[in-house]
């Protein structure tokens, strides 16, 4: 509480991924969205078996292979070349999304534009009328996974809050988010709103509140 504003270190992208990775237990089936969520796989210790799903038809995805082992037929949902772990399976798109939509994925981690204190997520468009519409699998994942975590910067580049009372951007899904990992904090979405589970060292609660567009609660 006696730190200055300059006294804390926001997490980097990889720092956020590593922090979220701590909370993924062995045996979970997880889908890791494009961007920072994809990096989470690199921070799960190899001895902790977590089965990674990719919506283009991989269950049991492994890391990017060394260049001489790359297989141009084996790409992830970001169309990056990846590998398959022993025990992995390939399926078609309807079967892949049956895993998602049927409630079989334990955890999906998505990037976000905005998260509201009621769990609403906005991560695909900035306005209802823009030409570009990149929905992809986000709506299916947000609705279908047993748990949805969001990893994103706590504020926009301009300093505007991304954690809000209500989202102003078009929704991806209503009431779906259970936890948010930002570069400043880890927050649980609860019936009373955002509860702060963790903050980066040196950051105080008031500072975090000042960067947040909804009321924060202490754990």
């Amino acid at each position: 509480m006696n730190e200055t504003r300059q006294g804390f270190g926001p997490l980097t992208r990889t720092g956020m991924a590593a922090r979220a990775a701590q909370d993924v237990p062995e045996g979970w089936y997880v889908n890791l969205g494009i961007g920072i969520p994809t990096l989470i796989a690199d921070y799960i210790p190899p001895e902790r078996e977590v089965v990674v799903h990719s919506e283009n038809g991989i269950l049991g995805m492994g890391p990017a292979p060394p260049p001489h082992q790359q297989n141009p037929w084996l790409v992830n949902a970001s169309t990056q070349r990846v590998s398959l772990r022993p025990g992995g399976a390939f399926v078609h798109h309807a079967d892949s999304f049956a895993m998602v939509r049927g409630g079989h994925i334990d955890l999906c981690v998505l990037g976000g534009f905005q998260v509201a204190e009621n769990g609403d997520l906005a991560n695909w468009a900035h306005s209802p009328t823009e030409t570009g519409r990149q929905i992809g699998g986000a709506m299916d994942l947000a609705v279908g996974a047993k748990r949805v975590w969001v990893v994103m910067e706590h504020t926009t580049k301009d300093g505007a809050a991304r954690l809000l009372r209500r989202c102003s951007y078009p929704l991806t899904a209503a009431g779906c988010v259970s936890r948010v990992y930002t570069n400043l904090a880890v927050l649980e979405v609860t019936p009373k709103g955002f509860v702060v589970l963790d903050m980066v060292p040196g950051l105080d609660f008031a500072d975090l509140q000042a960067r947040t567009g909804a009321e924060l609660h202490r754990a």
């Binding site: 390939f90 078609h92 798109h93 939509r101 929905i135 279908g144 209503a174």
Partner: protein
């Protein structure tokens, strides 16, 4: 003797009419029927509706647009049904100018609507998209306390399929992530046309590992086109 192999691209493309709904699988370049798509560009059908996961990549300076973008740029596509339209793409320009309709929907709903068409399900409820812009104009009904929206089957007139192996009955297998939309689009279209890397004798594909049984396939063209090329 049943023999679904055709000998030329012209034979493969014969009869695709103007106004057809054409299904195009592929995720990235993997499992994308690029040779058949070039054949379609050559063949000339126009006023098409494309069902395709992504309506085209972002513009990259110095890189030519891909085949889907060229088809759009030739003014031959009336509508895309897709899960991605990028603002900075050929499709994005045409949508912005009002010359291309775009129905942009969740990827899993896209897959399930295609599968439904193949499986004889005219419509189904799903929670995906409820409470979002996607739900506009759609019937909403609650199941297990969750709002669900009614989505209709999405059939095609033609599907262009990329297989790894095929036999003369039209049985197909795919490589690694090359399945993606291929098996369900093969089910959903009235006319399913395949390009295959490998042609094998009947009985060579393992009976309990055939991804697309021949019942869903009309024509097969043997074209060993080589590995998919990454966009970047």
């Amino acid at each position: 003797m049943i023999d679904k192999f055709v000998r030329s691209m012209a034979e493969a493309m014969a009869g695709i009419p103007d106004g057809a709904t054409v299904m195009m699988p592929g995720f990235g370049e993997v499992g994308a029927p690029n040779a058949l798509l070039e054949g379609l560009i050559e063949q000339g059908a126009t006023d098409l509706t494309l069902v395709i996961n992504s309506a085209g990549r972002m513009r990259v300076p110095g890189k030519p647009p891909n085949a889907v973008a060229r088809l759009i740029d030739q003014g031959r596509v009336r509508k895309v049904i897709t899960s991605f339209v990028r603002a900075n793409s050929v499709a994005g320009d045409w949508v912005r100018d009002g010359r291309l309709q775009a129905e942009v929907i969740p990827q899993g709903t896209l897959a399930e609507r295609i599968r439904a068409a193949g499986a004889g399900i005219p419509a189904f409820f799903t929670p995906t998209g409820a409470g979002t812009l996607i739900a506009e104009g759609k019937e909403v009904r609650e199941y297990q306390g969750r709002p669900c929206i009614l989505e209709e089957a999405l059939p095609g007139d033609v599907a262009l399929i990329e297989a790894w192996m095929a036999d003369r009955w039209g049985n197909l297998t795919y490589r690694e992530t090359g399945q993606n939309f291929n098996p369900i689009m093969a089910m959903a279209a009235k006319l399913t046309i395949v390009q295959t890397h490998n042609a094998v004798d009947l009985g060579m594909l393992p009976a309990n590992a055939i991804h697309t049984p021949g019942i869903y396939v009309n024509r097969v063209l043997h074209l060993p086109v080589g590995d998919p090329v990454l966009p970047r």
